[in-house]
Symmetry: C2
Subunit: 308 residues, 2 copies
């Protein structure tokens, strides 16, 4: 029996900062119905899909900051999305800002959940690699205050048996680090779901602007291929609150080839039927068990930064 | 003062199995003179540059096997190369099969050395990731018997201060593994030298033939970019003893861009002036110290193969 997952990568156009969660969820439900009509088993939404990406501006008031976070999932505004998924029998992955209490302390995570076709949460990833900076940088046209607003994810990398395969998740900057894919690959991931909010320009490194799309694709193509996994990468696109973000929502095969990609900067479904046995075939070719030499990789966990 | 290394990546056309070391060394010296005339500081030769790539056929007699290996470096046949380098004041990197005695035991390594412009050996890498198989596979049109003929390199990954920068080496299949680049990157490598013998077809995975060039480039571009290093990759090219090998000798910038590449399948110098400060700039952008999360990478050293 073929093991396939037909996936809709649901690229999101900009979300206005004054748009309510309920309005966004309506948009997501529209896409979910389209995906189901197209025969999809799974729809993947982007990072922090319910709101504008608030890390792009400075928020000093903690109570104001908290308004961008979800205290429960599903909550009143997101419940309809879970109900529609269960009604349609389609799974989904959703990124959102999560306000959690861990060990009696309030923590803020950049989170994604995986939800089965019965509308129940199967797995949760909390973003591990937080980019940007912790201090307001008024000289920049926009901020990237993830290091201030979020705590480093405390769940590590995980995989879940779902949709007939083994799935893992990463969020945005996690995809830049080969270690993310490798740990997920070692855990058996056959498909990795990634949401992202990636500006098409880098205020402090303008000479890299022309390479933003190239680097976005390069890290994911290598990560997919070197771990024999499908990668489904879903972006926020277009100009949101003055920040121009890449589209390039992509589905990447275990060969490292981009097999489907968005062509707009708005809401757009990128659909592909992913054969998980292709992952199995590449696994056989890579043969990590026979070929890796962890006895020489020690520095990867023993040292954080580059030696000068 | 700009920190630049002008490198010649000395792609090698086929070497006949009956060609003597002395004849090959003459070819290498010709290229070395060309490189020096072009203002190069360093010429990089390929993997097992002194002979045909004998792992492509079956050799049962140990004494016959040993004839493909060097017992000393420099030895009588290679001494002229070292002398010419010192005379010209140019450094070089050379791959060769090394017969060594380690702890009283005879060991066979797939080795590269880095030689300074004074003709003295600065560093040595012994290939860590041996591809292929240990048993003769008569059904295949050619063999890849590296797992039989070579021992796993026992020196780990290292870097050396040379040519005004920090240089590391990898050999052929080492380049397929993101761990190789990462360990070298953590050691501060600003330039990674790689020789390879890569057939353009894969007997047991013919469906991957069309992707050989793509995968060759993908792993190196990602490795360069994710570790802010220059990569200089030098191939054996053309049909050697019935085995058709890729050219695609490449110089890759820390941006991940291929900045120079061979256009033939024969002896060809690919020359580029590499600015090591470009590595420094990318290092600042990556900021491994601030952004890596080794506490979540444990599986990379704790587990060898993929979990089913």
């Amino acid at each position: 029996m073929p093991r396939t997952i037909t996936v809709a990568a649901a690229q999101s156009g900009p979300v206005n900062r004054r748009t309510s969660r309920a309005e966004v969820v309506e948009r997501l439900i529209t896409e979910m119905r389209q995906a189901r009509s197209a025969g999809c088993d799974l729809i993947v939404y982007t990072e922090c899909a319910l709101t504008a990406f608030f890390a792009h501006w400075s928020i000093d008031d903690e109570r104001e900051l908290d308004r961008w976070f979800e205290r429960e999932m599903p909550g009143p505004d997101t419940q309809p999305l879970f109900e529609e998924a269960a009604r349609l029998g389609i799974g989904f992955s959703l990124g959102y800002a999560e306000l959690a209490t861990v060990g009696g302390r309030t923590r803020r995570f950049n989170t994604s959940i995986l939800v089965g076709p019965d509308g129940r949460i199967v797995g949760k990833h909390r973003k591990i690699h937080l980019p940007g900076h912790a201090e307001h940088r008024p000289h920049n046209p926009f901020q990237n205050l993830e290091k201030r607003y979020f705590d480093v994810g405390d769940l590590g990398f995980q995989t879940w048996d779902a949709f007939g395969g083994t799935l893992g998740m990463s969020i945005c900057n996690d995809r830049r680090w080969p270690e993310s894919y490798r740990v997920l690959g070692l855990l058996g991931a056959e498909m990795i779901l990634i949401g992202y909010n990636t500006p098409d320009n880098i205020p402090e490194y303008p000479e890299l602007d022309r390479l933003v799309g190239f680097h976005h694709e390069l890290c994911m193509q290598a990560g997919a291929n070197q771990n024999a996994a499908w990668v489904v990468a879903v972006g926020k696109a277009g100009v949101e609150e003055g920040v121009s973000q890449i589209g390039l929502t992509s589905i990447i095969a275990p060969s490292g080839e981009i097999v489907a990609q968005s062509t707009t900067l708005g809401d757009e479904l990128v659909i592909h039927t992913c054969d998980l046995d292709e992952s199995t075939r590449y696994r056989g070719f890579l043969n990590l068990e026979q070929n890796r030499r962890p006895e020489f990789y020690g520095l990867i966990t023993q040292q954080v930064g580059q030696r000068d």
